[in-house]
Amino acid sequence: MQLHELTIRESLTLLGQKKISSVELTEALLNRIRTYDKNLHSFITIRDEEVRKEAASADNQRKKKVSKPMLGIPVALKDNFLTKGIRTTSASPVLDDYVPQYDSTYAKKLKDAGAIIIGKTNLDAWGHGSSGEHTVHGVPHNPYARGYVTGGSSSGSGAAVAARFCAVGSGSDTGGSNRQPGSYCNVVGLKPTYGRVSRYGVIAMASSTDSIAHLTRTIWDSAYVLSIVAGHDPLDATTSTQKVNSYHETLMNNYQAKIGIPKQYFEGLNQGVEKSVRKALEILEKKGHSLIEISLPNAKYAYPVYCITVSSEISSNLARYDGIRYGFDRSKFQDEARRRIMIGTHSLSTGYADKYYKQAAKARTLLIRDYQKAFMKVDLIACPVYPFPPFKHQDRDLDPLQMYLSDVLTVTANLTGNPGISVPIEFVNDLPNGLQLIAPHFEESRLFRVGFDVEEELQMYKKKPRLIA
């Protein structure tokens, strides 16, 4: 069996049975990364010697019967997650040489759970992007289609998990940034409920919409990781005290969902994308779920509201980068960041704040009400992730506005705080595609349960990418 193919679940089983060691697993992954990543650009930083030592230590602990939920499992973290002593750049020249003095809560939780951080993955700098192209560390290639984008901004994690460089890569989802690479890279991209996972130590993009997320190849892995990283954090006042379930244990429960199909989310779709999504919905019907047409009357305003709200918060969150205490000065910001900072600054400035920031905040309430009303009728909402399939590098780059519109199907869940997931479904013209499911707050169990039905039927995780050395 190929070690790099193992899911977290399989790895834990084999490690527990002493059929493999963490050192072997880590070596296999490191070799694979060394062989193929120079052509994929999924990592910005790869740890080497330290990781081998940590793997050996994990094996030792296992011998001594130490029990930790992720003991000896290599994980990748998106490079906007602070890792103490490990370079963290946010893929921007501003933080090119920054080595953090502290760990994000997320990194700490995984380390405490015994995981080994194999490296930091590539992203659209500061989280600004949905294609992965806004980085100075080489644009990641889609492992299934060289020359095509991976989706972003958690581009590197999406590519790394798809390429079988690791079984889990963390991400962040502010407007779709974790669900999108899930869809474009044939992996499971979870966006937890806002406040489910601590943001402490993750470079803030938009404080009221950032959701700390992860990508895996299977639903079980996604559910398992969530049960480890979720929970209240006294260092993050926006985290919830809501109980954390063992999400991976309820995948086999009897469940029949009413799935809402919003007509506004099926307008103007690429034909192939729509076909693939509708096929997946048929599978769900066969499995006993019911499809119900719903309406989200304010859907067309979601993107403008998102654009203003998130840009405003971005302009504020990037104000601390003045080069005095760390990093380089503001002259190192690239175009995309500068654009968003200026859009946000203008939206908040005197004379414009009422028209833009405040109006958007009011419209946000209407979007929340739309979802609340929908969830009184249905248990989940289903739709595509992107309106179009993966595109070639630079194809949509010239027009920033065009680029922004790829987020229209994902941004509402960020504005409302609802959890969502992208589940791998049939490819469109040999390019990966995902089914998006959205649930009420803290009902991630439903996402996993229904996603599992799709996974069980289509088994897209078995489709391997062909990589070039």
């Binding site: 920054y98 080595v99 003095q101 502290y102 806002y194 406040g195 009221s208 006294p234 260092l235 006042a237 926006t238 919830s240 304010n298 067309k300 305003y301 403008p304 509201v305 654009c307 203003i308 302009s315 104000a319 003045d322 080069g323 005095i324 205490r325 760390y326 990093g327 380089f328 503001r330 002259s331 910001f333 500068r338 654009r339 900072i341 200026m342 859009i343 600054t345 203008h346 400035s349 028209k355 833009y356 405040k358 109006q359 958007a360 905040a361 009011k362 419209a363 946000r364 309430t365 209407l366 929340i368 920033p400 506005l401 922004y404 504005l415 409302t416 705080g417 707050h441």
Partner: protein, 108 residues
């Protein structure tokens, strides 16, 4: 040929860049004027949404009164070296910046 009046003029761009402490080169001002105008012309549609009597939502935690106790937390404090180590210029335990004009600024 009549020049299209941009909703975000070069003057607006310079003003906003100044507020945001971003230095733009002259050529960039024109580029951003066009790009920002396109964006704002698109987002202007939120003006048509009827929002009188609709309260603002600025966060989705659905919670209130999240406090901590007045206690010293040594565990998360940084040593002086740690606090300073990522700075490009320090002096005697201080961060260094370009001199700010005026002793008046030392006030408060």
């Amino acid at each position: 040929m009549k020049k299209k009046k941009r909703s975000i003029s070069p003057k607006d761009v310079r003003h906003v860049a100044k507020l945001a402490l971003l230095k733009l080169k002259e050529g960039e001002v024109k580029k951003f004027s066009k790009q920002l105008s396109d964006v704002f012309e698109y987002v202007n549609q939120i003006g048509e949404i009827r929002t009188s009597n609709v309260p603002e939502t600025t966060q989705v935690t659905n919670s209130t009164n999240r406090f901590r106790e007045d206690k010293i937390d040594k565990g998360h404090m940084l040593l002086q070296e740690e606090a300073l180590k990522e700075s490009k210029q320090t002096y005697n335990g201080y961060f260094v910046v370009k001199a700010i004009f005026g002793e008046d600024d030392a006030a408060s």
